[in-house]
Each structure stands twice: as C-alpha cells, then as structure tokens.
Subunit: 135 residues, 2 copies
C-alpha cells in the first residue's frame, strides 16, 4: 500500500492526473485512510496501466472509462461491445488521417511554390495561391 505520490512516480503521471481520472470515473476510487489519504496497491497500478495502454492506442478517456467498466463486468459483457469501441475509434482515426493527409498535400504544394527568400511578399506564390484570381 502506497500513497498517491508513489503511484504517480511509478506511472510517470502527476498526482493531479490520478485524482482527475478518479473523478472522471476512469479508474476505480482508491481506498482511503482515516485521514482521507488515498492508498493504492498493485491492482490499482495494474488498472492504471491498462488505461495508459488504451490511451497509447488512441483511445480517449471516455473510451477507457467504458473499457474499464467492461473489463470489470466481463461476465455480463461481450466481445462485440469491446470491439465496437475500438472499431469506432479506428474509423474516426482514419477520417482524421484523411483530413491531415489532405492538409499535408496542400501545405507541401504551397511550400514548394514559394522561394522562401527575402524577396518582398508582393508576388509571393503562397499569397497568390490563397488569393482569388479575378480574371
């Protein structure tokens, strides 16, 4: 059993973050001593690592709140529910990826068009490309 500072150090998180996750229902509430201090054991740490792995995979706090719940109630939950969270997120990631790839191309094109020198910007190809060419 150790205090929040110890757990924070082990996981590389701030104490505030741990309290935040607890408030948000992402992790189970810690046990409390009579003085109100939170106390943790290896199961708490394990659950936190579970959450951190999910976040590393791109899952959000609310995704992980659900995941933790499903894991804690695995007897009444299905693979489908678990996979749905992942697949939904995967679809969103792919959408964002497409958007960012479009950005990358646009920006590359703009960048390639401009000399980037100390020339006056009066004829800058980037400004021209973004501006309207009224014929």
């Amino acid at each position: 059993m150790y205090q929040i500072g110890e757990l924070a150090k082990r996981l590389g998180l701030s104490q505030a973050t741990l309290r935040f996750y607890e408030r948000e229902g992402i992790i189970a509430p810690a046990e409390r001593a009579d003085n109100g201090y939170r106390y943790y054991n290896s199961l708490h740490e394990r659950q936190l690592r579970f959450v951190l792995r999910g976040k590393q995979a791109g899952l959000s706090n609310s995704d992980m709140r659900e995941m933790v719940h499903l894991k804690a109630h695995a007897e009444e939950s299905t693979c489908r529910e678990v996979k749905d969270i992942v697949d939904l997120k995967l679809a969103k990631v792919k959408e964002k990826l497409a958007e960012l790839q479009a950005f990358e191309r646009s920006l590359s094109d703009l960048s390639a068009a401009c000399c980037g020198s100390d020339e006056l910007a009066t004829h800058c190809a980037i400004l021209e490309a973004l501006d309207e060419f009224v014929d």
Copy 2:
C-alpha cells in the same frame, strides 16, 4: 454593399462566425452604417475566401491572421515570413500524422485480435492485450 446575412450565405458561414473572425482580428472590420449594421463589399468577401482557403489547407485562425496581415503589408514583408508559417504548420501536420498512423496500427491490431461476437468478454483478446500479463 450587403449585410452580414448575405455574406454569411455566400460563404456558407454563420453570422456569428463572421463576427467572431472580426473580433479575433482575422479579417478586417466591416464598414458600419449609422445604425451599427456591418456592410460588406467584394473585397471583404475576397479576404474571407482567402482565409477559408488557408483553413482548408490546414492553417489555423492565428496563422490566417498573420497571413492576412502579411498580405496587407506585402510591401514590408518577405516570402520567407509567409513560407515560414506554411512550413511550421507542415511540420506539425507531419507530427500529428505520425501519431495518428501509430494509433491506426494499434487499433487495427486490437480489432483484428478480437472476434467481436456475442461471446462473453471474459477472454476478449482486446482486454487481454491492454491488460498486464503477470507471468
């Protein structure tokens, strides 16, 4: 000369967004009639389209505020200044892209591991993958 509702309609933006851009200094303030109403002409519209193209390319509001300024003061600005904005954003986009690609892979792997059926989640491969395997 037309009012804000007309301009909003032409650009597919809300009136609130136009006022917001003005407040943020992204676009030049509209001319005002004696009653306080904003009035716009084709130059305003052109500047707005300039901003919208930049945003379509992934540039932020503050990027476009700078761009608009550089364009308005092109005589005292350089191509370098313009290109720097684009290149900085491009670098950030590439970073985010790498992060999202990592997410995509992680999520795909998780998804592929799970049957996604009505099976109880007690042995779900996703939950297992996120959980710690204590040997």
